[in-house]
Structures are given as C-alpha cells and as structure tokens.
C-alpha cells in the first residue's frame, strides 16, 4: 500500500503538468466553485456560486463560466479571471445539466422538474425555445456539427435527438434505466449514453439511432449495483473513453474501437462528472462523497493526484489561461 502511494507520488513528481489554466469545480452542497491551478494543482480560491451549483461549462474563448444554480432556477455567468458574477441567464426551473453549442451560443439546458429542454441565447439572455421531452431530462450532448442536441430523460429512459434549427425531436432511442449523460465522439459517429441504474453505456449510431454496442462493467469484489455509470468523456481521437462509475469509486477506461473495458482506475468516492484539460493530458473527476477531485494522467492511464475541493463536488470544467 505504502509502495503504491510512493509510486504514485513519484509519478506525480515526474509528470509535467499541462499548460497553465484553471480547473473550476462546482460544489453542490458547498454552494461554491473551487478554482484549482491546472499547473500546480493548488487550490487558488473558492467563491460563492448561488444555491446548489451543479452543471458547469465555459465559453469557447474561456472567458465566461456558466453554472446551473439549480435551487435558484437560473444559470449564473462568472468571469473566469475575476470570479465576479456578470449576469444570470433564464434557464427554466431546476437546471441541472446543460451543453453549449460548439459556436458558443446558444445554451441547451435540461429542466429536470418540468420535462423540458430550454434553449437560451447567451448574448441576448432570452429563451429561444422550450422543447418538451421525456420525464426528468438530465444528460445533454451536442453533435460536433451543432445540428443535433441530445437529451436523456431519466424516467422515460430515452435519448431524444433534437434538431437545433427546428427544435423538434427527430429521433428517440430507448436505453437502459436512468440515463444520466450523453457524449458524442469528436467525429460525430458515435454517441455514448450512460445508464446509471441500468449499469451500462449504450454506444449509439446517431445516424438512425440504433444501439451498436452496450458497454457493461464488472469489478471483482464490487457489488454490481454499485457500478453506476454517469459522466462520460472521449479523447478527440476517439481512442479512449472514460466512464465515471459513481459509488464504486472507479473510472473505467474503455477502448474506443472495441468498446471493451481495459482498466478500472480507483478515484475518490461517488465519482460523477469528468473533464479533460485542453490538450487532453489530464482528466479531472469530481468525487461527491470524499469532497475531492482525482486527476488522471490520460497517456499513462494512472491516477496521479487528488485535490480537496469544497463540499460535494458535482461538475468540473477546465479553462486554459
């Protein structure tokens, strides 16, 4: 055990951190955002972010930080340099997770309480559309070309493909129980949808919506019901798929070509969301029950460090300086 700790400490020393940047972590219970330096992995500051901050993302230029303040029923927008709140965006009730159009506008927000996806213009601060979807919408993914936004509804157990110009649902795919997250590959050829209670990740062909493969998980000594996939991230070359497995305290590394699990990485407790830095050198995980983030070296496929953040970290985004 000590040897393992020493080895990872050494590894941490040897690995050179990425370009300077900031890791922003939303703390659901702490009502704050923790800012971590992506070079030194030191906590820079922690600032208030409204009530129950969950979903978090940044504008393509890295200047604006968007935070779903779920209990305030708004999206709060912060300056990533000064941490000052600039304004709020109308989000509809109980915003939990959202996705930004690749162009930086608009923002597609899942309203868990109202079975809606709200489309909000981040420049005019107005709602462009409300799209009725299944029960308890949560996961939001967008195709790389920005033509389709995908919402997953947790009780209806579907991925809804919404045309971003007509705001109409054009396709539905039934997946396993409680889909939490939707993530396209960079080439737009695959869509990953995690089912938290079903314990699977469906690999969907967005063209037609058929499920091409179902990723399942198995860790000796861990009760299968604890293997609950939530956050999913894929390297831009499509080769490595990382899946956060909730209360099993593990992140699965899945081969992006064979869809076989290659490795399970032990991280903090109740890991939900994941984010790469800009160069995809490191992957950050939020561990809600141990109040920390784990940092995974993507090339070495190792956990290299954990950093204490605020109370019950939920979401994470990395912004280059």
């Amino acid at each position: 055990m000590n040897r393992v700790a020493l080895a990872s400490a050494l590894l941490a020393l040897m690995t050179s951190p990425a370009l300077a940047g900031k890791v922003f972590v939303s703390n659901e219970r702490g009502n704050t955002i923790t800012v971590v330096d992506s070079e030194t992995w030191e906590v820079i500051t922690e600032f208030p972010a409204g009530n129950r901050p969950r979903g978090i993302t940044a504008s393509p230029d890295g200047k604006h930080l968007y935070v779903c303040a779920s209990d305030d029923n708004v999206v709060r927008v912060f300056d990533t340099a000064t941490y000052q709140e600039l304004h709020t965006l109308p989000s509809g009730p109980d915003p939990e997770l959202f996705v930004l159009h690749p162009s930086g506008n608009p923002l597609y927000i899942a309203n868990e309480d109202d079975n809606l996806v709200t489309v909000t213009d981040v420049n005019t601060h107005t709602i462009l559309a409300e799209v009725p979807v299944g029960v308890e919408p949560e996961g939001m993914g967008i195709s790389p070309d920005g033509k389709y936004v995908v919402n997953t509804s947790e009780t209806t157990n579907m991925a809804h493909f919404i045309d971003t110009t007509s705001y109409e649902i054009v396709q539905n795919t039934l997946v396993d129980q409680r889909p939490r997250f939707a993530q396209y590959t960079a080439d737009g050829k695959h869509l990953f949808v995690s089912a938290e209670i079903g314990g699977t990740v469906s690999v969907i062909n967005p063209d037609g919506g058929a499920i091409e493969h179902k990723i399942t998980f198995e860790v000796p000594g861990i009760a299968p019901e604890l293997l609950q996939p939530v956050g999913v991230r894929v390297t831009s070359d499509g080769k490595k798929v990382f899946v956060a497995l909730g209360p099993s305290n593990r992140v699965a590394l899945v081969n992006g070509e064979t869809f076989e699990v290659e490795k399970y990485l032990l991280v903090g407790q109740r890991v939900w969301q994941l984010a790469f830095d800009a160069e995809e050198k490191y992957l950050y995980t939020t561990n809600g029950n141990s109040n920390d983030i784990s940092i995974i070296d993507v090339a070495a496929e190792e956990v290299v460090k954990s950093v204490q953040v605020g109370q019950q970290p939920w979401g994470v985004v990395v912004v280059p300086d």
Partner: protein, 393 residues
C-alpha cells in the same frame, strides 16, 4: 413561448409511430377497511391515497408512451371488504386485466382466486410473509415489501450499530403478532437477541383525546419499567395502537425502532437522494400533498407495467408477467439501484428506507452484509426459505 412549446409538442406527437396505437388499461382497486382515526392527525388518510401515486405513474408512462405509440388509462376504484370481489369481477368482466390491488391478504386471495387465467395482479399493500411463501399465487406480483423485509431492514441497521439486545413490545392484533414473529426471525437471522418481550393489549377506545398525553406520560413508563436490559425497544404495532406514544415515554432512555421512532418504509416524503427530489416535486405539484408509502407502491406497480410494455411493446398480461420476472427486467425507482423481481415468489426486490418523522436516516440493506446473488436478497425470504411453488418454471 407557450405556443412554441405546444407546436413542438404537436410535432413530437406526430413522431410517435402508431403502427397500432396500443392502449394499456389498468385498475387501481383500493379496499377501505373500517378503522379508527390514526394516533397522530398527521397520519390522516387522504381521499386519493394510492390513487394519486397511480395517476403520477400513468402520466410518467404516458410521456414515454407518446414516443412509443402507446396510451395508458388507469381507473381508480374504491371498495369495501364486502364489495371488493364483486368490483373486481365487474371490472374483469369489462375486459380489464391489470390490477393494482391495495387490500389485505384475505381480499387479495379471494381476488386472485376469481382472476381469469390472463389477469395479472400487483399486490401494493398486503405485507404477509406467507403470501410470498406457502400461500403464494402465480398471478400476484408483490410490490409491497413483506413484513420480513421490513424487519430485516431494521435488524441490519441495528446490527450495523452494534445494538443487538432488543426488547420487543408487540400489539395484540393478528397483524401485530405476525410482525413480532418477523422480528423474532430477523433476530435469529442476523444474530440479535430478544432479551425481553411483552404484549400491549388493545383495550379499545379512542386513540386521541384532549389531554390524552397526561395519562400516556404516566402509564407508559410503568409499562416499560421492568424490561430487561436492552439496547433498543422494538415496537411491533402494525395496527397503530401504542407505538407512536412510546418514544420518550419509556422508563429508561431507550431508542424506539419498528412501528415508531426509526421506521422501515417503502417511501418517505423527505427523501432527496437518487433523484428523489424531482419525483417528490412532481407528485406534490400534482396532488398538493406529500407522497405516502401507499402512493409510492401504487406508482411502482404501474411503472412496472409501463416499463414492461415499453420494452416488450406488448400489452399481453402473460408477456408482461414473464418479462417482469425475467433477468431483463429492471426499474429505476429513486432508490439508488435497479428494482427487480424474485423469480421464485414474485416479490419485488427493493431497498427499504429507515426514517424518523422528519428525514431518511439510513437505507437497508446495510454495508457489510453479503449475498451471492443480490444484496437485496438479504431482506425477506430468500429462495431456500420460501415454500412458494406457483412460480416454478
């Protein structure tokens, strides 16, 4: 904005592929038994008890159905113990085949007996362990947990706490005696010791009176005075006669568990974990009140139906039953893990919440207990313990 939403909804409806628009009709049959008012007026029964949960499930099913080309209709029917069977037969005569029945064992078994070969019954109330064993019926799926599941849930928590010395106080009605028996079995199963035991006899009368607390405060200490040394008092009072009075009125300072204090529940309106908040919000918006366990079990019964219809694309009762009992079936139901059925007796596997009046304190099965198949099978009758043969393949 609202108009846009409507337009989009219309677009979405046209998307549904009604190759053959399938209608799924179900009944919630609730039998109301003559009963005294509850000890606490906070526990007064709302008129729509159970029905409201079924309504929410129907709406949830319908939202999915609009994408799948299915429509869901649920009828809510109240009966008395005397009219229950006739109501069931009338509805069955109208062609209805899916019944969520909120009744005690006697009426439930009579209904099961009168059921057509293709009728499927969901038991949303009767906790009798025998219904999951020697008295099981192949046409009943048990949504409600058994008494044994409830007592095992409490027992695991007490063992986890290292509080193995129990004083058992049970009521005098058959249900209370059956519940006491379940606690005795749980003690034996998990290695606790019942150090003392006594019956609180129901002598009748009203349960709440003006200044009633004065006598309660004088009498209960005396009633519990000479209990042998114990860690906790287990109250087995399914009929709501005395348990609610027990906390703080014991001779010595004793935690109360079971029918008061820390209670095993299917649902609690303060549960917020596992997406529960959104579920509670939807229910409260629909009904203007908190969700009761009876609403949750009714919701669960109809969601089992909805989920099976969605996956099999069939509304045939035999197919629904087979699918529900198969390895393929799983249902997310705001309890942090999938709910499934025990194929040997039709009992739904589910975590049991442990709650006091205000919040959820814990959930069983507890950490550290083990089972070769599913940790949930540490609650209630496991396959070798069940004498049920109606489900044998």
């Amino acid at each position: 904005m609202f108009r846009l939403a409507l337009l989009v909804l219309a677009g979405l409806l046209t998307l549904a592929k009604p190759s053959q628009a399938q209608e799924v009709k179900a009944v919630v049959l609730r039998v109301d038994y003559p009963a005294l008012l509850p000890v606490s007026r906070l526990d007064l029964r709302p008129d729509d008890l159970g029905f409201a949960g079924a309504q929410l499930a129907t709406e949830d099913n319908q939202t999915t159905g609009q994408f799948m080309g299915q429509t869901y209709v649920t009828e809510s029917v109240v009966a008395t113990p005397e009219t229950a069977l006739a109501e069931f037969e009338r509805l069955q005569g109208e062609g209805l085949r899916f019944f969520a029945v909120q009744a005690r064992a006697e009426e439930l078994l009579a209904i099961s007996e009168a059921a057509a070969p293709d009728t499927l019954i969901f038991n949303t109330l009767a906790p009798d362990t025998a219904l999951r064993s020697a008295e099981c019926r192949g046409n009943i799926l048990h949504i409600a947990p058994s008494r044994q599941m409830q007592s095992d849930a409490v027992a695991q928590f007490l063992i986890w706490k290292k509080w193995p010395r129990w004083a058992l106080i049970h009521g005098s009605h058959p249900e209370d005696i059956a519940l006491a028996e379940a606690y005795r079995a749980s003690a034996a199963k998990f290695g606790a010791k019942i150090v003392d035991e006594r019956e609180f006899t129901d002598t009748g009368g009203a349960r709440r009176t003006d200044t009633g607390h004065v006598q309660v405060q004088r009498q209960l200490p005396v009633f519990t005075q000479d209990l042998k040394e114990h860690d906790v008092i287990i109250a087995a009072d399914e009929t709501d006669v005395f348990a609610t009075y027990l906390p703080f009125h014991t001779w010595r300072p004793s935690p109360i568990v079971g029918s008061a204090g820390l209670r095993p529940l299917e649902w609690h309106p303060a549960l917020e974990a596992w997406g529960g908040t959104q579920f509670q919000n939807r229910f409260e918006e629909l009904t203007g009140r908190y969700m009761r366990p009876e609403d949750y079990t009714a919701w669960l019964a109809l969601r089992v139906l909805g989920e099976a219809v969605t996956r099999t694309k069939s509304a045939d009762p035999a197919e629904i039953r087979a699918y529900a009992l198969s390895d393929k079936f799983e249902l997310a139901a705001f309890k942090g893990q999938k709910l499934t059925f025990r194929a040997w007796n039709g009992q739904m596997r589910q975590p049991i919440l442990l709650a006091d009046g205000r919040i959820m304190l814990s959930v069983s099965p507890q950490e550290g207990f083990l089972h070769q198949r599913s940790l949930l099978d540490t609650l209630g009758l496991d396959q070798p313990e069940s004498a049920c043969i109606a489900f044998a393949q």
